[in-house]
């Protein structure tokens, strides 16, 4: 079966197996042939790709739920979409969600994903009370911040390279409405954007959509989107009607001229005073999920998402330089999302650290490698790093430079014999 990540680049011919019971996964591990686990394939690059793949799609049973505390135990193949569908109407929500709800619990843990509230809630691992990990020798261990701590801090953010996450216990949070009070603030340029992040530091959710095509005066102009859970209102699942992008969608349509128009329209759709309103939770958190298979928009060659974080100190100058390099490159990016992260956690390969993170989508093109190479250098100089869940192309040196926990992670892999069993195209490329 030919598979790719969400970016549709690169592709790989893979033998795929799934399982519905832990014993089947254990016998798969017992073959001692290298493989990687795959959830819903929403990582953009090659982290869930290998010649042999173990799919968790059928291992998706909810095991237990406590309606008084919100403790949920479920198998790793359960998607965040399924959790929200089952528990939002009962007044429970996930404390951390990424920009799509079509990811599995296993994928959310392995990527230690973050949401619009990283500054206050941290990564996905902060709502994981414990997880059950299948090791290379077939042993099953329950890991938490207190038990088997080394395995826990390696597995959260460990990109599937420490074992098969079988199940997890999550702490849901209670909400009294399925609506979000949203506020959009317009920022004139980068300095203004960063200022606004500070000013709205106590907003529960905050993220900025940046117009990367704007140059000069307006470079870094953005719409800052803020949100709070509405204190009351309905608890309803208002799933917007989905539209599917056809497989033949011509990629050239989304070139720079169209991006320019799109960005201008989007930016000017909000008046200088900003906008305020109450929106359904799904459209606040998952604006793209209504466009099924939107990754086809970029056409046959696919695309990549470049997401970096640079430390807060020196961040404004670093961001300015990076934005001007991108605007000058002539390559378009529709989706450019900027966020101010809170502090890093203890997990060995977790991506977030206190600083600014910017995520950019680029269509694969001949000019792209040179641009990304330059960006790599700039990010490195700032002491920053790239997000493995998005990456399809970084070089090993970039990883080494950005992740101080890498050596410990490698040692742990060797110690438990994980390095010979769990391997993805990404881990091979990067020599993890």
């Amino acid at each position: 079966m030919r598979l790719s990540g969400w970016g549709r680049f690169p592709w790989c011919e893979a033998r795929v197996r799934s399982f519905a019971q832990a014993g089947e996964a254990a016998s798969f591990v017992g073959r001692e042939q290298p493989f990687i686990v795959r959830g819903l394939g929403r990582s953009y690059g090659d982290s869930a790709l290998a010649q042999d793949i173990l799919l968790t799609r059928r291992f998706n049973h909810i095991l237990d739920f406590c309606p008084s505390t919100g403790a949920l135990s479920c198998e790793a193949g359960v998607s965040l979409d399924e959790i929200i569908a089952a528990f939002l109407p009962r007044g429970w929500f996930l404390p951390v969600v990424p920009g799509t709800r079509f990811v599995t619990v296993g994928g959310a843990i392995a990527g230690d994903v973050h949401g619009k509230n990283h500054h206050s809630a941290g990564c996905f691992s902060s709502c994981v009370r414990s997880l059950v990990l299948l090791l290379p020798n077939g042993e099953v261990r329950t890991c938490s911040p207190t038990d088997n701590r080394d395995l826990f801090t390696a597995t959260c953010g460990g990109m599937g390279l420490t074992g098969v996450i079988l199940a997890a216990e999550l702490a849901l949070r209670s909400v009294s409405s399925s609506m979000i009070e949203q506020k959009v603030v317009k920022a004139r340029n980068l300095a203004h954007t960063l200022e606004l992040f500070e000013e709205h530091g106590d907003a529960e959710y905050s993220v900025a959509w940046v117009d990367t095509l704007a140059q000069g005066e307006g470079s870094g102009r953005s719409l800052l989107i803020l949100g709070e859970h509405a204190p009351g209102g309905p608890l309803r699942l208002a799933e917007p009607k989905a539209v599917t992008i056809p497989s033949w969608f011509p990629g050239w349509l989304l070139g720079r001229p169209v991006a320019k128009i799109f960005n201008n329209l989007k930016y000017s759709s909000i008046s200088a005073n900003g906008a305020q309103g109450v929106v359904p939770l799904h459209s606040f958190f998952f604006p793209l999920d209504g466009l099924l298979e939107w990754n086809r928009l970029y056409g046959r060659k696919g695309f990549t998402q470049y997401q970096f974080v640079i430390p807060k100190q020196g961040g404004p100058e670093g961001l300015a330089a990076i934005l001007s390099r991108i605007a000058g490159s002539g390559l378009a990016s529709y989706l450019a999302v900027l966020k101010l992260f809170g502090p890093a956690n203890a997990n060995m390969l977790s991506f977030p650290m206190a600083g600014y993170t910017l995520a950019l989508d680029f269509k694969i093109s001949s000019g792209l490698p040179a641009l990304l190479h330059d960006l790599d250098r700039m990010v490195r100089e700032q002491g920053g790093r790239l997000y493995l869940a998005k990456d399809a192309r970084m070089e090993p040196a970039m990883l080494e430079a950005g992740y101080p926990g890498l050596a410990e992670f490698r040692d742990l892999r060797r110690h438990y014999g994980m390095d010979t069993v769990f391997s993805s195209l990404q881990s091979k490329r990067l020599g993890v």
Binding site: Q21, R58, H61, L63, A86
Partner: protein
Amino acid sequence: MHVLILGGNSDVGAAIAAVFARKQGAFITLASRNMELGAKKAKDITVRYQVEARAVSFDALDYDSHVDFVVGLESPPDVVVAAFGYLGDQELAQQDFQEARRIIETNYLGAVSILEILARDMEQRGRGTIIGLGSVAGLRGRQSNYIYGSAKGGFLVYLSGLRNRLHKAGVQVLTVLPGFVATKMTEHLDLPPKLTATPEQVARDVYSAFRFKRNVIYTRWPWRWIMTVIRSIPEFLFKRTDI
């Protein structure tokens, strides 16, 4: 509403159970040979949809146990879904009769044995629905899976006869003709993604056919047209093909 899924661990069967639990708040019984998995699935349904669900032990090939199985149910089912099945290995079945026999017994004989008992009961009560998972493979024999296809073909004829018989009694018999579905049954095959449904899609089609009291449905719908073409090829040409 009590919904009994025979082959409750089948991916399609479990997806059908979920739709009935969600839309009807139905009480679900999952019948299968693997009780550990069945119990896990029942618990999942209970937590997700806040309905009652149970796992019970059932072997389609243990014919002698079928009467007791039906007597032992908590209440007479309003909807019965025959979702168990065995694809088997065609090449092996050509060499080894035991494989051929297992394919035929699971897909045909086992279904006849259990459904006759349940049908009698529904006929007496004058209501109910029987949903049989057939297959488009049962519509025309092909070299790549004719043992399975012939068993499913027998099952299709059985269902149409049963529908004819139970019509007077007000019992609905729904024949479901899936094309390709991405489940554990077909995991080892390289199926064309565009023609392959998810179990959830099949379940939605089945549920709406149940609501609209349909007799026979193809799922997904393009299979109706694909099979119309395949069935219209004359035998003297068909025997030369490699499909």
